[in-house]
Assembly symmetry: C2
């Protein structure tokens, strides 16, 4: 059963918020953690783990191990994969015709079955109680319809999994908010980020599908594709937005949102 959804950023600033907006965002992330303290597993979709252009990935490796921080930020830790749920997702997405691959590393099971984590997973995980998880990866070169369909199938699988699962979407938004930042300033980053927050706060997530491709590309985001998977998964039931926040303390936009399933 999909208990709820957390949209979580993966920028270092949420760990030590430099301003009021970011503190407010960190509070929402903590609330996501508290709200999902009772679930059995997380499904975590991250854009900064394995990156395949035309395939979605399900990590089957047993041990998920901290490997790569951003700008020197070291966040140690190990997590366990919910292997049963991961195998179910891989198998059923494949049976549904999705372009999905199972990812393991070194050994198929045991202590050497390990997979590296980057800041894309490690930062959201700092706000969540340690539980088994299924790590999944989006892909940018698949059609919007395919990504939504993948999410719908994911929602179906979770629904009948016999487990209480929270879906965590790791995402940062426009990356060109600061002319002195690595990507300079682009109006589109602002436009995209404002639109995303409107769609979240006004319960208009279906309109994600109407965002022009050009805006997504020019805004330099790493949120859009996994949000389409999220949209598909959320079509399965009704969810209520409990809280949201946005901050942009450096050059990229960060959003937090918590949806809980309506009973």
């Amino acid at each position: 059963m999909l208990a709820g959804v957390g949209l979580m950023p993966h920028g270092n600033p949420v760990l030590e918020p430099p301003d009021e907006d970011t503190r407010r965002l960190a509070d929402v992330l903590k609330k996501i953690g508290r709200t999902f303290a009772g679930v059995d597993s997380y499904v975590l979709i991250s854009p900064h783990n394995a990156r395949m252009s035309e395939h979605l990935g399900v990590i089957l490796a047993e041990n998920l191990v901290s490997w790569l921080g951003f700008e020197g930020k070291v966040i140690p830790g190990e997590w366990k994969t919910d292997r049963e749920l991961a195998e179910k997702i891989y198998r059923e997405e494949k049976d549904a015709g999705m372009p999905v691959v199972d990812l393991n590393f070194a050994s198929l099971s045991g202590e050497y079955s390990r997979w590296p984590l980057s800041w894309g997973e490690l930062i959201p995980l700092q706000f969540l109680e340690r539980k088994p998880l299924v790590l999944m990866t989006p892909a940018r070169n698949l059609s919007r319809e395919m990504l939504v369909k993948f999410g719908e199938t994911l929602g179906d699988i979770i629904e009948v999994s016999g487990k209480k699962v929270a879906l965590i979407i790791s995402a940062d938004h426009g990356h060109a908010h600061d002319e002195k930042g690595p990507y300079g300033y682009r109006k589109e980053s602002e436009t995209y980020d404002r639109l995303i927050m409107e769609l979240i706060n006004e319960n208009r997530l279906e309109e994600l599908l109407k965002i022009p491709e050009e805006l997504v590309r020019n805004a330099l985001v790493d949120s859009y594709w996994q949000m389409l998977i999220m949209l598909g998964a959320m079509r399965n039931a009704e969810f209520e937005l409990k809280d949201s926040a946005y901050a942009c303390p450096t050059y990229f936009g960060m959003a937090g949102a918590l949806w809980v399933r309506k009973v």
Copy 2:
């Protein structure tokens, strides 16, 4: 141009040979290193990196970084991907209809575009001069014909790449040679290993395709699938076996073989 092929084991014993057979094997590995000192790049196929059941992988990440040793053996180091060749291989294998995925991690380029290495790559790399490489991964659940075809296409791509390339196959053979080892004793490990050495030494590699599936499975090998890719790649030209050796100092069989292209 495919300058030659090295079949190389990835067991810790070759680093500090405990007996005469293993010393002889290590000598062959050193000879592989010396022979390929003049190539531009390696294509390295390893069974202990990413493991996908039905997809072949081409690592596109720019930096290949030591991550995981076997039984505590730490082998530090970083290598660079030959990105141009890697992209060519991914694109052309895909165009040839092969089930191949491009693998990157964290970022698409730059310092954060990194991929972890295990003993499967690190041990062969100890015997090779440091050069750019294309790391690739085999898959066990594809047909033999598919794996050979993948290798043929790989051979074609290398042939017209404008580069001198050595193909390195990381492989260990039967894993059930010792009743006190982790997989116990199975006659099939001995049978498989003896047969592999015959096919190598008697220039009968095409007969790899005749090895019964049951023998491959029961011998508990991690060599067969990447050797089929090797077979396909070697169909492109004529190669001469320059040296070979076999050793089994612990519970698994290790083979080294060096083929150089006939001029």
